[in-house]
């Protein structure tokens, strides 16, 4: 069964690499969905000696939230904010890919050097989890559109839950469901926020969200909606 875990780990690594170079938002969202589905399958493959009802319920909910609901929410937010592509990212796609490959190498080297996870499901899984987290953080920092940052957060969260699954951590039904619910509501609220940003600023470039700061006078009248001066 361990072979399956390795296959899924590698597949997840590939999704990371694709995500970091994809410029079309719809494309990115689809790959996040694929990542969610792979992650949902992972716990089922890990427990060879049969699994209980609780695990099955969790797996089904996990798959449906991460594979279907969250991507749908993101697509809806994308349509409402009327964006299609991530133009002019801060870090170009080639550079991003090279950076991520370097990060992957560092993660694998780090885990090997410190022999970090003797208890893990497979030797490849923990470094892949770290790589996924790094990918998420990198996308949050290096991309311009606010919606891409939401996608980055999802990838980051996927990395964390992959770490949890691979280290065979079990937190109980309530905690797992709570975490899922939180992520779901977060993406929902972010969708609303994106819509509002688009309406107030008529774009969703997060680097231009800089009207609040410590150096200038606050707008003469706080009631003034004109932030960009």
């Amino acid at each position: 069964m361990n072979a399956f875990v390795e296959i899924i780990s590698v597949a997840l690594l590939i999704t990371d690499l694709v995500l970091v170079i994809s410029g079309r938002l719809l494309h990115s969202i689809r790959w996040v969905a694929i990542q969610g589905i792979l992650l949902g399958l992972l716990p089922l493959l890990l427990h060879e000696s049969g699994f209980g009802v609780q695990m099955l319920i969790l797996a089904v909910i996990n798959l449906s939230v991460k594979g279907i609901l969250l991507p749908l929410l993101l697509i809806r937010a994308m349509r409402k904010a009327d964006v299609r592509r991530e133009l002019e990212p801060f870090v170009g796609y080639t550079a991003s890919l090279i950076l991520l490959l370097a990060a992957t190498a560092i993660c694998f080297g780090f885990c090997r050097y410190w022999n970090i996870a003797p208890g893990a499901a497979s030797p490849a899984s923990v470094p892949v989890a770290f790589t996924t987290m790094v990918t998420g953080l990198f996308i949050i920092i290096a991309r311009r559109k606010a919606i891409t940052q939401a996608i980055g957060f999802l990838i980051f969260e996927n990395g964390i839950s992959m770490f949890g699954i691979c280290m065979m951590l079990e937190h109980g039904l309530m905690v797992e469901l709570g975490i899922l619910l939180d992520v779901f509501v977060l993406v929902f609220v972010m969708g609303i926020a994106l819509f509002n940003i688009n309406r107030e600023f008529s774009h969703i470039d997060s680097d231009k969200l800089n009207s609040l700061g410590d150096w200038d006078l606050p707008a003469q009248n706080h009631k003034d909606g004109e932030a960009e001066q």
Binding site: G119, G164, L169, H171, V189, A193, L209, P218, H222, K223
Partner: protein, 485 residues
């Protein structure tokens, strides 16, 4: 049983208010009624340790329960909420009425507001989630609840729809969520550290506390670093504090009061839980990390307060400062002092934010240089503002004087010198701002007559809170004098 009741009560009320959106009067009544019930429950919990100790379990895992510290934090949250609820009751109509006047005076179109029912139900849901944070006995549930506080309070920040508030909301959502996700990773690392001995004790706080000497030190170090980054972000420890000034300055005064007064305490509680789990050998490591975070927060706050143009941002940085002080107090082993400090800070900061809301109501601007002569234009608010600022700077009989004295007494000479120096800078910055707003002649933005009259009437709650704070402070001074602290 009472633990689950006290969480569900505001949550259910929030749902009802949201669904009955059209019935505003009913919503207002239910809002106040829930606040009162919640505080009765929390007083009962504090007075009856047996009831507080009763746990709520699912299967073998204990999920909810209270200990003396969390019961005290719950009481503070509840008390703050009831004061804020009363203030909201009177402030909201005044704010809605003032908007067109300000718009007319400054020549732009009036901004839209969120629906009142949504605002009130978000406030109640916020209360429910903070209660859940204090009640959680499972670190996983603690994380879930703390993340949920971010989600339900984000809509509160953009109550008044403007570009600034939407930006603040986005930053709040993103920075806090990424930060808190770090804490989730920290929680998982803690689980790994705990289960390195063989079997996993799960994430139950009490069980972890019993087995903490067997933790794997390397994993725990990593866990604590991520926890301090994650929960520190939520608590406002520099350098993870960047959401705080934006959110606090854009949110309406009553919401800032809750964010600053209760939410920061709840995040501090989460960090305290992690600290309590540190094995003895790792205590110095955790202590140094917290002291470094605290000192850095103090430094950042002092620097930004000195050259601040926005009085609500100034208060936000002052929160960063006080959370830093609390972290230092906790790290040097002065537990009582840290808890006193956050409680005193909550009350005073709530008062200040409510007063700031009143000033904003009258002047329609947060720019400090354009405000002047408040003693003449709104004398009551001006007096309370002055007293509040002096109290937050630790002027006796402020309770913060006692705790800051404790800090200087307990910390080593080097640390206390640094803290005192930074406190002095903060004091200078804040009083300078305060005096320039209070004295002299009316500045370039004159207060509008009708909103000013309304704002002057909104001073009951600040008055009550200031009296309570003074009593607290005098009591603690007496305790200190008798050598009981």
């Amino acid at each position: 049983m009472i633990a689950i009741l006290i969480v569900l009560l505001p949550l259910i009320s929030a749902g009802i208010i949201y669904l009955m959106g059209k019935h505003l009067k009913f919503g207002r009544f239910l809002f106040l009624f829930t606040a009162v019930c919640h505080s009765i429950c929390s007083v009962y919990l504090l007075l009856n340790p047996e009831a507080a100790l009763s746990k709520w379990d699912i299967g073998k895992t204990t999920l909810l329960g209270f200990d003396p510290i969390s019961a005290l934090f719950l009481l503070i949250t509840s008390l703050l909420f009831i004061l804020v609820a009363i203030q909201t009751h009177f402030w909201l109509p005044a704010e809605l009425a003032a908007e067109p006047e300000h718009a007319a005076a400054h020549g732009h179109t009036a901004a839209g507001f969120q629906k009142e029912s949504v605002f009130r139900s978000c406030l109640l849901a916020f209360l429910a989630m903070m209660t859940l944070v204090t009640a959680a006995r499972n670190l996983g549930i603690l994380w879930v609840a703390l993340e949920a506080t971010t989600l339900v309070s984000a809509p509160l920040i953009c109550f008044r729809r403007s570009a600034g508030s939407v930006e603040a909301m986005w930053k709040y959502l993103l920075i806090c969520s990424v930060g808190i996700a770090m804490a989730l990773f920290g929680t998982m690392l803690l689980d790994v550290a705990a289960s390195s001995g063989g079997h996993s004790p799960g994430l139950n706080f009490d069980k972890l506390l019993l087995t903490r000497s067997t933790f794997h030190t390397g994993w725990f170090k990593a866990a604590f670093i991520f926890a301090i980054a994650g929960y520190g972000a939520k608590m406002g420890l520099a350098p993870f504090h960047t959401w705080l000034p934006d959110a606090h300055s854009e949110a309406p005064g009553t919401v800032s009061a809750l964010l600053s007064g209760s939410l920061l305490n709840c995040s501090f509680l989460a960090l305290m839980r992690f600290y309590a789990l540190a094995p003895e050998t790792l205590r110095p490591f955790c202590k140094n990390l917290m002291i470094a975070g605290g000192l850095f927060s103090l430094g950042i706050a002092a620097f930004f307060i000195l050259r601040q143009n926005d009085f609500k941002r100034m208060l936000a940085y002052s929160s960063v400062e006080h959370m830093g002080l609390a972290a230092i107090l906790w790290a040097i082993g002065c537990d009582q002092g840290a808890i006193f400090h956050v409680c005193g800070h909550s009350l005073i900061k709530m008062t200040l934010f409510l007063i700031a809301g009143n000033i904003l109501l009258a002047y329609g601007t947060r720019a400090i240089p354009t405000i002047g002569g408040m003693f003449k234009d709104m004398p009551k608010t001006a007096c309370f503002w002055l007293i509040g600022i002096l109290f937050i700077c630790g002027m006796p009989p402020s309770p913060l004087f006692v705790t800051e004295y404790l800090l200087v007494r307990e910390a080593g000479p080097l640390l206390s010198t640094a803290v005192l120096l930074l406190l002095f800078v903060v004091f200078g910055g804040m009083t300078k701002v305060c005096l320039s707003m209070l004295m002299g002649h009316t500045g370039s933005s004159a207060p509008l007559p009708e909103p000013t009259k309304n704002a002057e009437r909104l001073n009951l709650i600040p008055l009550v809170a200031l009296i309570a704070v003074t009593c607290c402070g005098i009591m603690w001074l007496i305790l200190l004098n008798n050598g009981e602290i």
